[in-house]
């Protein structure tokens, strides 16, 4: 995770995901099959999409695959894209769906029988958080977030980093409100402990 941070473009404050509507023309052209327009959209959004993918997966190889999957799916689904959501939000939703599908597929492949939440919240993963550096910087936070259990990490990234509301996350992930609140609370506890805040 730290290695990929050298590629950071810029830092910015948290803003609402629904912020850009200036790309309507490009979206319209891409929807008609214009690959050049889609490439421009890619250039505009790939930084955010890749950041999301990297934080959700905590793995550069998986993040690359997930980002690729996200844009390919977006291309295929563009004719059905409606302007009632921002393009960013729509892309993020595709990324989250793709991630959830991968998790389900991986679980089937490994034929694990443990409950998903038990698996995701396993103490062995939590131990990684405890081992995170105790100097509280943004890079340390990235590493601590990467060490969170996957479900807890997903909730934290979508809510605290990307700024989605509980309701929006519940819609994206299918999580119950109570589960989501518990995951967010756990994420904060683990991060505060890992970073010695």
């Amino acid at each position: 995770m730290a290695r990929t941070l050298s590629l950071v473009r810029h830092q910015g404050s948290i803003e609402t995901p629904r912020s850009s509507t200036s790309d309507d023309g490009l979206v319209d052209r891409a929807r008609r099959g214009d690959v050049d327009a889609f490439e421009q959209l890619y250039g505009m959004y790939v930084g955010r999409v890749y950041a999301l993918c990297l934080r959700l997966t905590a793995d550069p190889v998986q993040a690359r695959e997930l980002a690729q999957d996200t844009f390919v799916r977006a291309w295929e689904a563009l004719p059905r894209f409606r302007a009632d959501a921002s393009f960013t939000t729509w892309l993020h939703r595709i990324a989250v769906n793709a991630l959830l599908e991968r998790r389900r597929r991986d679980r089937r492949r490994t034929a694990r029988v443990s409950l998903a939440e038990d698996e995701e919240d396993g103490e062995s993963v939590v131990a990684g958080v405890v081992l995170a550096p105790d100097v509280a910087t943004a890079i340390d936070l990235e590493r601590a977030v990467a060490a969170l259990p996957p479900g807890v990490r997903r909730a934290f990234v979508l809510h605290a980093v990307e700024g989605y509301t509980h309701e929006e996350i519940a819609t994206m992930t299918g999580l119950a409100a109570g589960t989501l609140r518990a995951q967010l609370h756990r994420a904060r506890q683990l991060l505060i402990r890992a970073l010695s805040l």
């Binding site: 910015g12 319209d28 890749y50 936070l141």
Partner: protein, 184 residues
């Protein structure tokens, strides 16, 4: 005395300073692009050819079924009446009342979809419009064929079902044509 921020506040502060964008590996776009090219080209063609193929299937199956139904009745096959624009019910057509009512319902749906398609006509490629119109003419011909046969044999259930099926297929054609991607 300065009050120390709480751990939650410090975490929020750190989180707010995380970068919103991270540059992806440079070759990512070329990998994505390689997967887009075949799909972008086939989408337009597939959409057009699916419409044309659907219309041909409607026409062929309709003709065969009409022929079978008429022959089963009296062994005589009549040539279909000329197709009317968008298969609007013919004035004074001799159809059973329940079919005439159903036909009016179909006509309303067809009119609405036709208006939608006409509004979008300019945004579609001329070749797409030509394919759609050709498909609609084939669908109209199938409707006219079934209708003509039914006028001569109003009690024939197979023909009645065939007419209804042809209307529904035409509505489906119009709906799909209305949803076609605009010109590239």
């Amino acid at each position: 005395m300065t009050e120390h921020p709480s751990p939650d506040d410090r975490l929020d502060d750190l989180t707010s300073r995380l970068p919103r964008e991270i540059a992806p590996p440079p070759e990512l776009w070329s990998s994505i692009r390689a997967e887009l090219a075949p799909r972008s080209r086939t989408f337009q063609w597939n959409a057009r050819w699916r419409l044309a193929a659907a219309a041909l299937v409607v026409a062929a199956s309709s003709s065969i079924l009409t022929l079978l139904a008429v022959r089963a009745r009296d062994g005589v096959y009549r040539a279909p009446a000329a197709a009317t624009a968008d298969s609007a019910p013919t004035a004074g057509a001799r159809l059973p009342a329940h079919l005439a009512v159903a036909e009016l319902g179909y006509a309303r749906s067809i009119d609405a979809l036709r208006r939608t398609l006409d509004e979008r006509r300019d945004s579609l490629a001329p070749s797409t419009v030509a394919t759609v119109e050709r498909s609609l003419r084939i669908a109209d011909s199938a409707i006219a064929e079934a209708r003509s046969a039914l006028e001569h044999d109003p009690s024939n259930r197979v023909l009645a079902e065939l007419l209804a099926s042809n209307y529904e297929r035409k509505i489906d054609l119009l709906r799909r044509a209305s949803e076609l991607a605009p010109r590239t």
